[in-house]
């Protein structure tokens, strides 16, 4: 059954699978697939979807950072995306990388963004059309963004430390074992270990999955309010910082807080635990 999207603070930021199937040929939108599985787009994707790879397309290949505004303009132009195009993101892993790509688009000021509720798995499970045909569009002319909005939606280690010291909301979205410091990697990713386990002092544990239903759709606005505002101490009007290991699971939570609950001043600390857990001089806390 389709979710009633009007319950969310920004219902325009979500689309349902049924809606998308009826709008596959809508020229004002561009469907963008972003995945963890580097080849899954090639095995079949939503007709008309372009593939934007979080690593090869969005990240700088030399510096741990995102691409330049010039490269972002080129990425959009080659995929037929203009500043007026509404990009609808979806992907595997419950939309982790779709939310990450959406967040990265927002870094460059592209505000016309939406998430496909339930992502790739829901689309596929519902037997909706898939194709292997690689989508191509006439080249667009995306003007180079004048700035990156890092200050507004991205937190760096110093800012995470300041957030910790000030006692403002800091949300750790990793698994409970990672938060407690029992493991130094995410379950199923033992190759991504760090030197130290634990969490940033003062951070509350709210695993990303808490916000999702079993079919990868988002939980209701009431449930999300209870999870984040009633129980995790997130306060409307107060700066909030979210983090995970490399910034993708926290992008999911950033999307929930920003668009579904409508909170201002939510920033994603994308350096996350792979930076903090290895960083000289960074304090940590262990245990629940």
């Amino acid at each position: 059954m389709a979710t009633n999207l009007t319950q969310y603070a920004h219902p325009e930021a979500l689309v349902e699978t049924d809606w998308l199937e009826k709008h596959l040929k809508d020229e004002s939108i561009r469907i963008v697939e972003s995945n963890e599985d580097v080849l899954i787009y090639d095995t079949g994707h939503i007709p008309g979807a372009v593939h934007i790879d979080w690593r090869a397309d969005l990240q700088d290949q030399v510096i741990r950072d995102y691409i330049t505004p010039e490269k972002f303009a080129e990425l959009c132009s080659k995929n037929g995306i203009t500043p007026d195009t509404t990009c609808i993101f979806y992907g595997d892993k419950a939309n982790w990388w779709a939310c990450y790509a959406l967040w990265a688009f927002r870094l460059f000021g592209h505000d016309r963004v939406k998430i496909l509720n339930g992502g790739r798995d829901k689309w596929k499970a519902e037997g909706r059309p898939m194709t292997k045909e690689r989508s191509t569009y006439p080249r667009a002319n995306y003007s180079v963004p004048k700035k990156r909005f890092d200050k507004e939606i991205r937190a760096f280690a110093d800012e995470a430390l300041a957030q910790s010291k000030s006692g403002k909301p800091l949300i750790d979205v990793r698994s409970p074992g990672e938060y407690k410091g029992e493991v130094t990697h995410m379950p199923e990713y033992p190759q991504e270990g760090v030197l130290r386990g634990g969490h940033i002092p003062g951070a509350k544990s709210v695993p990303w999955k808490t916000a999702a239903n079993d079919d990868n759709t988002f939980k209701s606005a009431d449930e999300l309010t209870k999870i984040y505002i009633d129980n995790a101490g997130v306060k409307p009007g107060t700066e909030t910082v979210v983090y995970c290991r490399i910034g993708e699971r926290s992008s999911h939570t950033w999307f929930v807080l920003t668009y579904l609950l409508g909170l201002d001043n939510v920033r994603n600390y994308d350096g996350s635990w792979t930076e903090w857990g290895n960083k000289v001089g960074a304090p940590i806390e262990k245990g629940a």
């Binding site: 599985d37 580097v38 080849l39 090639d42 095995t43 090869a56 199923e188 033992p190 190759q191 991504e192």
Partner: protein, 151 residues
């Protein structure tokens, strides 16, 4: 250095431009299902488990025939990544008929020659997982054989 069948696959991949390499990997991944055990097949060892390294359950089935040649079948859970699926089909085909000892002695440096360096990165490192599992079952087989000989 490598078994003949595997060497042919490696040589094929090394001649392919990047885009065709990806297409061929996807094509192999779609054949992973053909590596599942056939009805009535008997195995000397079966190892089905969900490990930390992999997204889903992976089963390895080993039969060693009267000539000492290994025949491997595999089952993969639905969450297993595309590259891991491809490596399953490649290894089942490439190692068909090798002895367990030949499999155990196989260096793993051929993996990047097949996959290319572009796809080996964070979140895609399970490409080595299937080879590790196949080697693992061969090692158990050989250890048991040696123990039986001693006894």
């Amino acid at each position: 250095m490598y078994p003949q069948k595997l060497n042919k696959i490696i040589n094929l991949f090394e001649t392919l431009p990047e885009e065709e390499r990806r297409e061929t990997i996807v094509s192999y991944s779609e054949n992973a299902k053909k590596q599942e055990p056939r009805k009535d097949e008997q195995f000397d060892l079966v190892d089905v488990r969900k490990d930390e390294e992999c997204m889903d359950t992976v089963g390895v089935y080993l039969h060693v025939d009267e000539n000492g040649e290994a025949h491997i079948r595999m089952t993969l859970g639905p969450e297993v990544q595309t590259l891991t699926r491809a490596m399953t089909a490649i290894l089942c085909k490439g190692l068909e008929g090798c002895t367990p000892q030949e499999i155990l002695d196989l260096p793993s440096d051929f993996v990047t020659r097949i996959v290319g360096t572009e796809l080996v990165r964070i979140r895609s490192q399970t490409i080595y997982y299937v080879l590790t599992r196949i080697k693992g079952i061969c090692k158990v087989y050989l250890d048991r054989q040696r123990m039986a000989e001693v006894a």
